[in-house]
C-alpha cells in the first residue's frame, strides 16, 4: 500500500521585504498509514513550515516547489483554496502549541470542536452537541457536556490541549499533525498528552509530530527526522537514531541534553567530539555550613490564595541549589522574595548574615550588589534605549573611574564569550543566546556571592542552552559564586545543582542532595515528576569519557 504522505524534494521559500528566504531546502520523507513520524529541529530549522505545507497553510508569501507532494493518493501541488478546504480537518488535522491561544478565546470549547463538524457537514445541527460531547470524552475530558459550554481560559492547560486535539480529530482525519503539542505544558501533563496521542495512533491515525525535544518524540515516534537549516540531516528508526546517531549534528543535539549523567561535564563540545564529553573545570570547595542565604518560613498570599507556604531553605557559600517545580508551584514568587523585590507575609530572609526581608529598601541597598538576578527573558530586563555596553556598564562599581569603564565591560564580555564588537549594539539586535550572555555578564560584574537564576535557559534552543549552562558552570567554578537555580526542567537541575528543592502548590515537598532526591525520591509528587520525565534510552547516550 502506498504511504499516506509522500514528500519528495520539497522546497519552501518566503518572499519577505528583505528578499527571498529559503525555509525548507529540498527534503523528502514519507508517512505510512498508522505510523508516527517525528520531525525534530531547533528554531529556524524549517520543521513547522514543513508541517504546515502539508495542509496548505505555509503562510502568505510562501513559494512551494516539490517533485512529489501526495496526501492519501492525491497530488496536492496544484490544489486551489477550495481543494485545500476539503483536505483540512477531513484528511489532515492540525494541533498547535498552547491551546490558550490556539483555540479562539472568545468562543466556547464546544463551538470550536463543533466547527469542524459543521464546516464539513459531518453531522446535522441536532446531533452536533452529542457528537461534540463524544469527541471530548474520546480525549478523556471529564464532564464533556459541561466543558463544552466553557471557554478555553476556564480550562487548565492540559484540558485545553485535549480539547484542541478533539477539534483536530473531529473530522476523523487519517493524518494528525501535531506541532509542538506539549511544549508549553508541565512535565506531568506533557506525559498525559503524549499518551493521548499514542492512543489515537493505536486507533489507526497516522501522526506527524513536530518538536524541538528529542526526548519527547522518542516516547511515541517510530521514525525520527532531524532537520537543520531547512534540510533533513538524518532520518531513521527512533531506536537506531538514538543508539547510533550517524550525523554529527544529531550527536551534538543528543550530547547537549542535560541530565544526571552529564554532571560535571560540558554539554556543548567545541569542536564537537564524537561520543566524548569534556570535563568542566574543577570547582572550589562548597561549604554548605557557611550560609550565604537563609530563608525561614516564607509565606506569601495574594488575596485568599496562598502562593507560598512556610518555605525554608538555605544556600551555602559556592553552592548551587536547584529549585524545581511546575507552573503555579510558587517558585518564581520565592525568587522574587529572595531577590528583595517582594515582601513575604511571614518568615524571614537573611543574606550574608544580615536581615534581608522586612527591612527598608535603604538598608538593603548597599548589600544589593552582592546578590544578582538573571531572568528568563533577558530582553525585557534591558532598558530598550541602552546598548550592550550601557547595559553592563550600569552594574559596574560606581567608584570605577569613567575612563576605566569601557575596558572593564570588554573584559566582562570576554568572560562570557562575547567580542568587544557587541559593545555598541542594541540587545534586540542579538540572538537569544547572546542576550542571555549579556545578562550573565551584567550579573557577574559586581562579583556577587549569590546569583538567582530564574529559568535562565527555558527560552533557548537546546544547543544554545548547552552553551549557556556550560558558561554558568565555568563562571561558578572560577568565582565560587553560589547559585539559586530555578527551573521546571529536572534534567537541567540535575545537571547543575548540588542540592535540590522540590516545590508543589507553594510548599517544599522534598529537599536534599540532588543524587538522593532524584534517585530515591521519598515524596509521591517527586516520584510522579520523575516518572513523567521523558528520558532518552540510556544506551543511546554518548559514551562517557573516564575522568
Amino acid at each position: 500500500m502506498a504511504p499516506l504522505v509522500t514528500v519528495e524534494d520539497l522546497h519552501v521559500d518566503f518572499d519577505t521585504p528583505t528578499g527571498r528566504v529559503a525555509a525548507v531546502r529540498g527534503i523528502s520523507f514519507t508517512v505510512d498509514r498508522g505510523e508516527c513520524v517525528a520531525v525534530v529541529g531547533e528554531s529556524g530549522s524549517g520543521k513547522s513550515v514543513t508541517a504546515r505545507t502539508l495542509v496548505g497553510l505555509a503562510g502568505p508569501g510562501a513559494r512551494i516547489r516539490a517533485a512529489r507532494l501526495d496526501l492519501a493518493g492525491e497530488d496536492v501541488r496544484t490544489h486551489r483554496a477550495r481543494d485545500w478546504r476539503r483536505v483540512r480537518g477531513r484528511l489532515a488535522g492540525l494541533v498547535l502549541q498552547d491551546a490558550l491561544v490556539s483555540l479562539d478565546p472568545l468562543r466556547t470549547v464546544g463551538a470550536e470542536v463543533g466547527e469542524v463538524l459543521t464546516t464539513h457537514g459531518i453531522v446535522g445541527r441536532r446531533e452536533r452537541a452529542g457528537r461534540v460531547a463524544h469527541l471530548l470524552d474520546l480525549v478523556h475530558l471529564p464532564e464533556p457536556e459541561r466543558r463544552a459550554r466553557q471557554y478555553p481560559h476556564q480550562l487548565s492547560g492540559g484540558l485545553r490541549q485535549r480539547a484542541l486535539i478533539a477539534s483536530a480529530i473531529a473530522g476523523e482525519p487519517a493524518l494528525l499533525i501535531a506541532d509542538e503539542p506539549t511544549t508549553a505544558l508541565d512535565v506531568t501533563v506533557q506525559a498525559q498528552i503524549l499518551r493521548l496521542l499514542a492512543e489515537r495512533r493505536a486507533a489507526g491515525v497516522s501522526l506527524l509530530l513536530i518538536s524541538h525535544d528529542l526526548a519527547v518524540v522518542a516516547q511515541v515516534a517510530d521514525r525520527v527526522l532531524v532537520m537543520r537549516d531547512g534540510r533533513v540531516v538524518e532520518n531513521g528508526p527512533t531506536d537506531r537514531l538514538l543508539r547510533a546517531p550517524e550525523h554529527p549534528y544529531t550527536r551534538q543535539l543528543l550530547a547537549a541534553v542535560p541530565s544526571a549523567s552529564s554532571r560535571g561535564r560540558r554539554l556543548a563540545a567545541t569542536p564537537p567530539v564524537a561520543g566524548a564529553r569534556v570535563a568542566l573545570p574543577a570547582r572550589v570547595e562548597v561549604r554548605p555550613a557557611d550560609r550565604v542565604l537563609d530563608a525561614r518560613g516564607l509565606t506569601k498570599r495574594y488575596g485568599e490564595h496562598t502562593v507560598v507556604r512556610d518555605v525554608t531553605f538555605s544556600v551555602g557559600r559556592g553552592e548551587t541549589l536547584g529549585l524545581v517545580g511546575e507552573s503555579g508551584s510558587g517558585k518564581s514568587t520565592v525568587a522574587r522574595i529572595v531577590a528583595g523585590l517582594l515582601d513575604p507575609e511571614a518568615g524571614t530572609v537573611s543574606f550574608e548574615g544580615t536581615p534581608w526581608s522586612a527591612v527598608r529598601e535603604r538598608t538593603r541597598r548597599p548589600m544589593r550588589r552582592r546578590l544578582q538576578l538573571i531572568s528568563q527573558d533577558p530582553l525585557s530586563s534591558f532598558d530598550p534605549r541602552y546598548t550592550v555596553g550601557q547595559v553592563i556598564g550600569e552594574n559596574l562599581d560606581p567608584d570605577v573611574d569613567r575612563r576605566d569603564r569601557r575596558p572593564h565591560v570588554v573584559d566582562l564580555l570576554r568572560r562570557v564569550g562575547l567580542g568587544p564588537d557587541l559593545l555598541d549594539r542594541h540587545p534586540r539586535q542579538l540572538s537569544g543566546g547572546q542576550r542571555q550572555r549579556v545578562a550573565i555578564a551584567r550579573a557577574i560584574a559586581p562579583r556577587p556571592s549569590l546569583i538567582i537564576c530564574d529559568e535562565p535557559v527555558s527560552a533557548l534552543d537546546v544547543s544554545v542552552q548547552a552553551q549557556v549552562l556550560d558558561l554558568l558552570a565555568e563562571l561558578r567554578a572560577a568565582d565560587g559564586t553560589a547559585l539559586l537555580f530555578i527551573s521546571h526542567d529536572l534534567g537541567v537541575v540535575h545537571h547543575l545543582s548540588d542540592r535540590v528543592l522540590v516545590m508543589h502548590d507553594g510548599t517544599v515537598v522534598e529537599q536534599g542532595p540532588v543524587g538522593d532526591v532524584f534517585t530515591h525520591p521519598r515524596h509521591d509528587y517527586t516520584r510522579s515528576l520523575l516518572d513523567a520525565l521523558p528520558t532518552l534510552v540510556a544506551a543511546g547516550r554518548p559514551q562517557e569519557e573516564r575522568p
Binding site: S43, L341, R365
Partner: protein
C-alpha cells in the same frame, strides 16, 4: 510561568529567520514619495507661517473691485473672493493662524498631559485614582462642546481657541502618559535596576522618565493635526479670529454663501486644512512606526 521554546509560531512569514543566531537584518530607512510630499508641504507651511510675504507678497486684505469672484486662472491661481481678494494670498497668510493655534494648543495639552500623567503614574494609588477620575470626567465632555463652553466664558478669539483646544485635548495626552508610566514602572528592566541597588530618584531619572517621555514628540505631531482640525471647525462657527482675518475655517464660512457661483473661495482653504492634517498624520505615523521598530 509559561515556557516557550523557540519563537512564537504564527502564520506570519516575515518573522521566519533561517539562522537563529543571526538577528534579522534591519532594513535601511528609505522614505517613500508620500512621506516626502508630506514633509515638503509641512516645510512650505512653516515658511508660510514664519514669513507669508516670501510666498505671497500681496496684501491678504487688499480688495480689488474689478476682479470680484474671478475663477482660478493665470492672474489668481486660487481665484478671488467676493471682495476681489486673492484667495491664494489669503490661504498663505492663513497658515500662520492655523499653525499658531495648533502649536500653542498642542503645547498646552502635551505639557499639561505629561505633567498630570507622570504625577498620576508615579504617585501613590489614592492620588492616581483621584487624578484619573478627574481626567475621565473631563474627557466625558465632547471636545467641541467643551471648547464652546470655554468660549462662552472667555469670548471668541485666538486666545480662547488655544485655551479651549488645549484643555479639551489634555486628558487624552495625560492618559497616554499615565499608561506609559505605569507600563515602564512595572517593566522588567526597572525591576532589574532595583536589584542593582539604585535609589528611587535615580531609577526614575535614568529609566522611567526617558522611556515615558521618548514617545511624546510623536504623540504631539499627531495631536497637532487634530488641533488644527478642531481650530478650523471652531473658526468656521465664528469662534476664532474674526473677519477679515484670513483664517482658513473663517474663510470657508465667509465663502459658503457663494458656493453655488464660486466654489473656490470655500473649497480651496478647506483643502489647505486637509493637506495640513494629512501631512502631519503621515509624518507622525511614520515616525511612530520607526520609533516602535527601534524599541522592539
Amino acid at each position: 510561568m509559561t515556557v516557550t521554546l523557540g519563537p512564537p509560531l504564527t502564520d506570519a512569514p516575515a518573522r521566519i529567520r533561517v539562522d537563529p543566531t543571526e538577528p534579522a537584518v534591519r532594513r535601511r530607512f528609505r522614505p517613500g514619495p508620500g512621506l516626502l510630499a508630506a514633509g515638503a508641504y509641512l516645510v512650505l507651511l512653516v515658511v508660510a507661517a514664519a514669513s507669508p510675504a516670501a510666498l505671497a507678497p500681496a496684501d491678504p486684505l487688499a480688495a480689488d473691485p474689478l476682479a470680484v469672484l474671478s475663477p482660478p486662472g493665470a492672474g489668481h491661481w486660487f481665484g478671488t473672493d467676493h471682495l476681489g481678494r486673492d484667495v491664494l494670498t489669503r490661504v498663505v497668510h492663513g497658515a500662520g493662524h492655523s499653525l499658531t493655534i495648533g502649536v500653542a494648543a498642542t503645547a498646552i495639552a502635551v505639557t499639561g498631559g505629561v505633567l498630570l500623567g507622570l504625577l498620576a503614574g508615579l504617585t501613590h494609588r489614592v492620588a492616581d485614582e483621584a487624578l484619573s477620575r478627574t481626567l475621565d470626567a473631563l474627557s466625558a465632555f465632547p471636545m467641541l462642546l467643551l471648547a464652546l463652553l470655554f468660549i462662552a466664558i472667555a469670548g471668541p478669539g485666538t486666545a480662547s481657541l488655544i485655551g479651549a483646544i488645549g484643555i479639551a485635548t489634555l486628558p487624552h495626552h495625560a492618559r497616554v502618559v499615565r499608561g506609559q508610566t505605569l507600563l515602564v514602572r512595572r517593566s522588567g528592566f526597572v525591576e532589574q535596576a532595583v536589584t542593582f541597588g539604585q535609589s528611587r530618584p535615580r531609577l526614575v531619572l535614568r529609566h522611567v522618565l526617558p522611556n515615558v517621555v521618548g514617545p511624546v514628540p510623536v504623540l504631539a505631531v499627531i495631536g497637532l493635526g487634530e488641533a488644527v482640525l478642531a481650530a478650523a471647525g471652531l473658526s468656521f462657527l465664528g469662534m476664532g479670529p474674526q473677519p477679515p482675518s484670513p483664517e482658513w475655517g473663517a474663510m470657508l464660512s465667509e465663502g459658503r454663501n457663494y458656493l453655488q457661483v464660486a466654489w473656490w473661495i470655500s473649497i480651496l482653504p478647506g483643502l489647505a486644512v486637509t493637506a495640513t492634517v494629512v501631512s502631519l498624520t503621515v509624518v507622525g505615523r511614520h515616525w511612530q512606526a520607526r520609533f516602535d521598530g527601534r524599541r522592539r
